[in-house]
C-alpha cells in the first residue's frame, strides 16, 4: 500500500499552485507546438531550458514533461484537419484521421484521439508509478561495470532504432560522447580540448548544443522548404462519437496503450515508433481492417493512444536508471543536471517530491489536456493560421536571449551559432542529431563508471563479461546490432519508419 501513500504525497506536491500553473503552461505550450508544424518538442524544450534554471527542479521538470506529452495531443489536430503531421509521432494519424475528416467525421476523429490519448496516458502514468520503485531497487544492486554496460546498451539500441543508417547513428552517438569529453577531467582536474577558453572548462554548454542543433538548424531547414500549409476547409462538427464508433475504437485504444507502453520504455523508442507500431498492428488485426484507407477509426484510436502512452513510459528509464531513452529525455537529464540533481536510481529515494510529484502531475496534465484540446479546439484551429514566417523570428529571439541568459555570457550565443551550422551540415549529410545528443549526455557518466569499474577490477576488462548483469546487457546489445545487419529486419524497420 506504500504506493498509494507515495502517490498521495505526489498529488500534494503536484497540486501546489505553482506546480499546477506550470503543468498548465507546459500543457498549453505543448499543444501549441504540437499543432504547429515545423516546431517540435525537442526544439521547444531546448529553447526553454534556460528559463527553467530559476525554478525549483520539480516545477521545471513538470513543465518540460507537460510540453512533451502535450505535443502528442496537439500533433493529432493538425494531422486530422490538415493532413499534415504537427509532430513526427502523428504521421500515421494523417492516414486515417484526414480521411475521417473528409468523410465529415472530423469531430469524431478529434474526440477519439483526445479520449484515447487520455486513457492511454492515465494507464501509462500508473505503470510509471508501479514500476519506478521496483526497477529502482534492482538498479541499486548495479556495480559500475553493470552501469557502463547498461549505458552502452541504451546507446546502441537508441542508434539501432533511430531513423536512417544504423552505422551512421552509432557514429553520431560516438561523436556525441566525444563532444562530452570537452572540459575539466573530473579526477585529475586537467583541462581537455578546451583550447585555453575559460568558458569551456565546464564542458560544452548542453543548452547551446541542443538549441543550435534542434532550434536554429531547424529554422534554416524549414525555411528551405516552401511552406505547404493548405487553407483550412474542414468544418469541425459534433465531437460526439456514435455508438458504433465507440465499439470499434475501444479495443484499438486498449491495444494501442499496450503497444505504446512497451515501446516507450525501449531506448530510442518513444512516441513516433509506438504510433507506427500500433498502426501496423491495427491494420493487421483490428475488426475494421478492411476499412483502412477509407477513414477507419481504428487507425486513429490505436496510434494516438500509443504515442501518448509512450510519451509517459519513456520517463521510466530516466527516472529509475538515469538513462535517457530518446532526445527529449536527454534534454530532461540536462535540465536535472543543471539543477544539481544526478539522475539515477537514487533519485526516487533522494527526490521523492520530484519523482512522485512528476507522476501525479502527468495525470493532472492529461486531464488538463483533455479540456484544452476538446472544448477549446477552435482556438488551436485559429493558431494553425499563423504562418511559419512569423514563427521563426520568435524562435530565434527566444534562442538568442535564452542562450545568453544561461551564464550571462555572449560566448554561449556564439556556441549556439556554431552548433546551428553543424546541425545543418548533419541534416544535409543525413546524420541524425538525436543519437548525438544522447551520447553527449551519457558520455561523461560512462567515463566515470568505466574508470571505477576498471579500478575495482585492477585493470581487467573481463569484468564486463564476468558480472552476469553486465554480460547480459552486452549480449543484448550485440544481438540488437547483429539483428539490424540482417536484410529482412532492416527492411522491416525502413518500412515502419516510412509509415
Amino acid at each position: 500500500m506504500d504506493i498509494f501513500a507515495n502517490l498521495a504525497h505526489g498529488f500534494a506536491v503536484a497540486l501546489s499552485f505553482q506546480n499546477l500553473l506550470f503543468a498548465l503552461i507546459g500543457a498549453l505550450i505543448g499543444t501549441a507546438i504540437g499543432v504547429l508544424p515545423g516546431i517540435g518538442p525537442v526544439a521547444t524544450i531546448s529553447l526553454l531550458l534556460p528559463i527553467t534554471f530559476g525554478q525549483p527542479a520539480t516545477t521545471a521538470i513538470i513543465m518540460l514533461a507537460g510540453i512533451y506529452y502535450g505535443a502528442q495531443y496537439g500533433g493529432s489536430t493538425t494531422a486530422i484537419l490538415l493532413n499534415l503531421p504537427g509532430e513526427i509521432s502523428s504521421v500515421v494519424t494523417t492516414l486515417e484521421g484526414y480521411k475521417m475528416a473528409r468523410n465529415g467525421r472530423a469531430g469524431a476523429a478529434l474526440a477519439t484521439s483526445a479520449l484515447g490519448s487520455f486513457f492511454a496516458g492515465s494507464c501509462a502514468t500508473l505503470l510509471v508509478a508501479a514500476s519506478g520503485p521496483v526497477l529502482t531497487s534492482v538498479a541499486l544492486s548495479f556495480g559500475p561495470a553493470d552501469y557502463f554496460s547498461l549505458m552502452l546498451l541504451g546507446l546502441i539500441i537508441s542508434a539501432v532504432l533511430a531513423q536512417g543508417s544504423v552505422l551512421k547513428s552509432v557514429a553520431m552517438v560516438v561523436t556525441g560522447v566525444a563532444l562530452g569529453l570537452v572540459g575539466t577531467d573530473v579526477q585529475t582536474g586537467q583541462q581537455r580540448f578546451t583550447f585555453g577558453i575559460p568558458e569551456l572548462s565546464d564542458g560544452l554548454g548542453f543548452a547551446a548544443v541542443a538549441m543550435g542543433m534542434f532550434g536554429i538548424a531547424e529554422i534554416i531547414l524549414n525555411l528551405e522548404k516552401p511552406e505547404a500549409r493548405s487553407v483550412l476547409k474542414t468544418k469541425v462538427d459534433s465531437l460526439w462519437l456514435t455508438k458504433e464508433e465507440w465499439k470499434r475504437a475501444t479495443p484499438s485504444v486498449l491495444r494501442g496503450t499496450l503497444v505504446g507502453s512497451v515501446l516507450g520504455i525501449l531506448p530510442g523508442g518513444g512516441a513516433s515508433l509506438s504510433a507506427f507500431g500500433s498502426y501496423m498492428m491495427e491494420r493487421k488485426i483490428s475488426k475494421g481492417r478492411h476499412l483502412f484507407g477509407q477513414g477507419a477509426i481504428e487507425g486513429v484510436a490505436g496510434p494516438e493512444a500509443a504515442n501518448n502512452a509512450a510519451a509517459q513510459t519513456s520517463f521510466i528509464p530516466l527516472l529509475t536508471l538515469g538513462i535517457p531513452s530518446n532526445a527529449v529525455m536527454a534534454l530532461m537529464v540536462g535540465a536535472l543536471i543543471i539543477q544539481g540533481i544526478q539522475p539515477g536510481p537514487r533519485m526516487v529515494e533522494a527526490q521523492p517530491d520530484l519523482f512522485w510529484g512528476l507522476i501525479a502531475s502527468m495525470w493532472i496534465g492529461n486531464v488538463m489536456l483533455l479540456i484544452i484540446n476538446l472544448p477549446m479546439i477552435g482556438m488551436w484551429v485559429k493558431l494553425l493560421q499563423v504562418p511559419y514566417k512569423f514563427l521563426y523570428p520568435a524562435i530565434l529571439v527566444f534562442c538568442s536571449i535564452g542562450s545568453y541568459s544561461i551564464n550571462n555570457n555572449v560566448f554561449d550565443v556564439y556556441m549556439t551559432v556554431v552548433f546551428a551550422v553543424f546541425g545543418v551540415m548533419c541534416a544535409k549529410l543525413k546524420m541524425e542529431p538525436a543519437p548525438l545528443l544522447i551520447g553527449f549526455v551519457l558520455g561523461p557518466m560512462m567515463e566515470e563508471h568505466l574508470r571505477r569499474a576498471m579500478l575495482l577490477s585492477r585493470g581487467d576488462p573481463m569484468v564486463f563479461v564476468q558480472r552476469p548483469i553486465s554480460a547480459t546487457m552486452l549480449a543484448i546489445a550485440a544481438v540488437a546490432l547483429i539483428a539490424m545487419l540482417m536484410p529482412n529486419l532492416r527492411k522491416g524497420k525502413e518500412a515502419a519508419m516510412a509509415g
Binding site: S165, F193, Y404, Y414
Partner: protein
C-alpha cells in the same frame, strides 16, 4: 560503383574529427587501464570514431547513389570569401581598440561579417542571415541593450524570407510584439540581468 556522396562526406568528416581528437589527445597522460589518466577515454572514443568513420566512408563507395546538393561556382566562391573575410575581420578588429577589444566582440564581428558575406550566393543566404542575426544580437546586447539588439536581430532574420521584404508593416508589427513579449518573459518574469536600453 554507386557512390553515396553523403556517406562519403560524413565518413570523411568523422575520420577527420577523430584524427584531430587523437592528435590533440597527445598532450594528455594516458595512464594504465587500472588507473586511467585524462587521456585514456578520449583515446578509446576517438579510435572507435575513427573506425566507424572509415566504415561509413568505405561502405559509402557502394551504397549510393545519393548525391550531395549541387554547389554552383558562386556557392563555393561565397563560402571561401565568407571564411577569409570573417577570419581577417576577426584578426584585424582588436586593432581598433575600445569595443572590439572586449571579451568576444572580435570573434563576433568576424563571424557576423563572414556569414553576411556568404549570403551573396543564394545557397548560403538562409544559414548566413539567420546566424548573422544571432551574432548581431550578442555583439550589441551588452552595450546596446536588449531592445535595440532585438530590433536588429529580427530585421536581419526577416531578410532571410523574401515575403517579409514586400510587407514592411507586418515586420513592424512583429517587432513590436516580440519586443513586448521578450520584455514580459525575460525582464518582468525571469528578471535576467541584462540592460534593456542602450548604455552610454
Amino acid at each position: 560503383m554507386k557512390l553515396n556522396a553523403k556517406d562519403i562526406a560524413s565518413g570523411a568528416f568523422l575520420v577527420l574529427l577523430a584524427v584531430i581528437g587523437l592528435w590533440l589527445n597527445q598532450e594528455h597522460a594516458l595512464g594504465s587501464a587500472r588507473r586511467m589518466g585524462p587521456g585514456y577515454m578520449p583515446m578509446l572514443v576517438f579510435w572507435v570514431l575513427f573506425a566507424l568513420g572509415a566504415m561509413v566512408l568505405v561502405l559509402g563507395l557502394f551504397s549510393g547513389p545519393d548525391p550531395l546538393e549541387k554547389w554552383t561556382g558562386r556557392d563555393i566562391l561565397a563560402l571561401v570569401l565568407g571564411v577569409v573575410v570573417g577570419a581577417v575581420v576577426w584578426k584585424v578588429a582588436p586593432g581598433f581598440g575600445g569595443f572590439f577589444e572586449n571579451t568576444y566582440n572580435a570573434v563576433g564581428i568576424g563571424m557576423m561579417v563572414g556569414f553576411l558575406v556568404a549570403c551573396i550566393s543564394r545557397g548560403w543566404a538562409l544559414i548566413g542571415f539567420i546566424c548573422a542575426a544571432m551574432c548581431f544580437f550578442s555583439l550589441l546586447l551588452e552595450q546596446g541593450g536588449l531592445m535595440l539588439s532585438l530590433v536588429g536581430t529580427i530585421l536581419i532574420a526577416c531578410t532571410a524570407e523574401r515575403e517579409h521584404l514586400q510587407r514592411p508593416l507586418g515586420v513592424l508589427g512583429m517587432i513590436i510584439f516580440l519586443l513586448a513579449l521578450s520584455w514580459w518573459v525575460f525582464i518582468k518574469q525571469l528578471d535576467i540581468r541584462v540592460a534593456v536600453w542602450p548604455q552610454f
